[in-house]
C-alpha cells in the first residue's frame, strides 16, 4: 500500500514536470551566481565550491518542500492520507521518498557538472556526489517536518526556511566538510560516516515527528 503513495506522487510530479525542473534550474543559477559575485580565480573558486554547492542545494530544497503537503492539503487528499489503515509513518516515508526522487536526485546528478565549473578534481566530484546523496535525504526528512508544521499558513515557504535551515546545519557542516577535506587532500571518511549516521537517525525519527505535525496541522 505504501507503493500507492509513492506511485501517485511520482505520477503527479511527472505531470507537473515544470516544478521539479524549476528547482533544478534554481540550483544551477544560484551556483553560477557566486563566481559572478566573487571573481573567476580558480583557486578561490575551488576553495568555496563545497560550501556554495551545498548551500545552493539547501536553498533549492527549500523551494520544493513547500509543495510536499500543501497541494494535498488544499484538495482534501491529505485528510484521506491521514485516514488510511497504513501507519502514517509509512505514508510520510513514501511521500518524502517520492519528493527526494523527483526534486533532490536531479540536484545530486547535476552537482558534478557544477563542480567542474569550479575546477575541482574528479575524486572530489565523487565525494561531492556521495555527500549530497547522503545529505539530501536528510534535507527531505527534516524539511518534511517543517512543511507539515506550516501547512496552510501564509508565507509558509519563508517560514519553512526559518524553521528548518538551523536544523540542517550539522548536515551542511559534515557534507561540505567532506568535500573540502577531499580538496585539501585529507580523507573525507570521518565526515561521510557522521553524515551517514545523521541520515540513518533522521530516517528513523523524522517521519514520526512529521506524522505528529501533520495530525496537528490538519485538525
Amino acid at each position: 500500500m505504501l507503493r500507492w503513495v509513492v506511485w501517485r506522487d511520482l505520477i503527479l510530479a511527472w505531470r507537473r514536470r515544470a516544478d521539479a525542473l524549476s528547482t533544478l534550474f534554481f540550483f544551477v543559477i544560484v551556483v553560477s551566481l557566486f563566481p559572478l559575485g566573487i571573481g573567476p580565480e580558480t583557486e578561490l573558486l575551488r576553495s568555496i565550491a563545497p560550501g556554495v554547492v551545498w548551500v545552493a542545494a539547501l536553498l533549492a530544497s527549500m523551494l520544493s518542500l513547500g509543495r510536499l503537503f500543501a497541494n494535498d492539503y488544499q484538495d482534501g487528499t491529505l485528510e484521506q492520507l491521514l485516514l488510511t489503515p497504513q501507519p502514517l509513518y509509512l505514508v510520510v516515508l513514501g511521500k518524502v521518498a517520492a519528493q527526494w526522487l523527483t526534486s533532490e536526485l536531479p540536484l545530486v546528478c547535476m552537482a558534478p557538472l557544477l563542480g567542474v565549473q569550479f575546477g575541482v578534481s574528479n575524486d572530489t566530484l565523487v565525494v561531492l556526489v556521495l555527500s549530497l546523496a547522503l545529505g539530501t535525504p536528510v534535507l527531505s526528512m527534516i524539511g518534511s517536518i517543517g512543511a507539515a508544521l506550516t501547512l496552510g499558513l501564509r508565507s509558509s515557504s519563508v517560514l519553512i526556511s526559518i524553521l528548518v535551515l538551523p536544523l540542517y546545519i550539522p548536515v551542511l557542516i559534515f557534507g561540505a566538510g567532506a568535500v573540502e577535506a577531499s580538496i585539501i587532500g585529507q580523507s573525507p571518511a570521518p565526515h561521510i560516516y557522521l553524515l551517514g549516521a545523521i541520515t540513518v537517525l533522521s530516517l528513523i525519527f523524522a517521519p514520526w515527528a512529521t506524522s505528529a505535525a501533520l495530525r496537528i496541522s490538519v485538525e
Binding site: M1, W4, V5, W7, R8, I11, L12, R15, R16, D72, Q74, D75, G76, T77, E79, Q80, L81, L82, L83, T84, P85, Q86, P87, L88, R215, V218, E219
Partner: protein, 196 residues
Amino acid sequence: MRGDRRVFSDVNFSLVPGSFLQVTGANGSGKTSLLRILCGLLKPAEGQISWQGASIHSLGEEYFTSVTYFGHRPGVKDELTAAENLRVSAGLGGVQVDTDRAHEALERMGLVGRGSVPARLLSEGQRRRVALARLLVCNTRLWLLDEILTSLDKTAISLVRSLIEEHLSGGGMAIVATHQELELSGHQKQRLELAT
C-alpha cells in the same frame, strides 16, 4: 473546542448496524467538527468515541479499516484521471481496484466515458462523483459523510441515496451531516440537531 472556544457539548449517541444518523444544525454549530471527531482527525476536549467497545484512540489505524470519511473538499487530485483517482484512493484504503473495475464504478456513478479524463477538466459535481465512487468499491462498515450533497444534481443525489440505502441494508452504518433532509426508506433513522 475550536481555538479556545467551545463549539458544542453534551453530545451522546450510539449507532447499531443498519441504522443511520443524520446530523443537522445551522452553520457553525459544529457538524463538521463532530464528524471529524468521529473519524479521529480531531480530538474532543472531553469525551470518548468507541467502536465495538474500544476507544478509537486505542484502536489506531485498525479503526480506519472500518471507516470511510468524506469531508468538504472532494479529495480528488486534478492531474490524475478519474480512474486513477479512484484506484489510488481505493488502494490507500486497502482495496485493490484494477482499471476495468474503476471504469465500471465510475460509469455507475454517471461518469460514462469520463474515466480517462484528468480531473481538472471535470466539473465540481463530477469531481464529487469521482470521490464518491469509492463508496462502491470499499467495504467499510461506517460511512461518515459531511455535506456531500452540495454541488450534486438531483440524479446524483438520488444515486447517493440509493448507495446509502444499499449500504445500510448490508448491515453498514452511516452518519450524514447535511442541511437538506435525507429520506431513506425503511431504515432506522436517528436525528441529532446541534445548536450553537
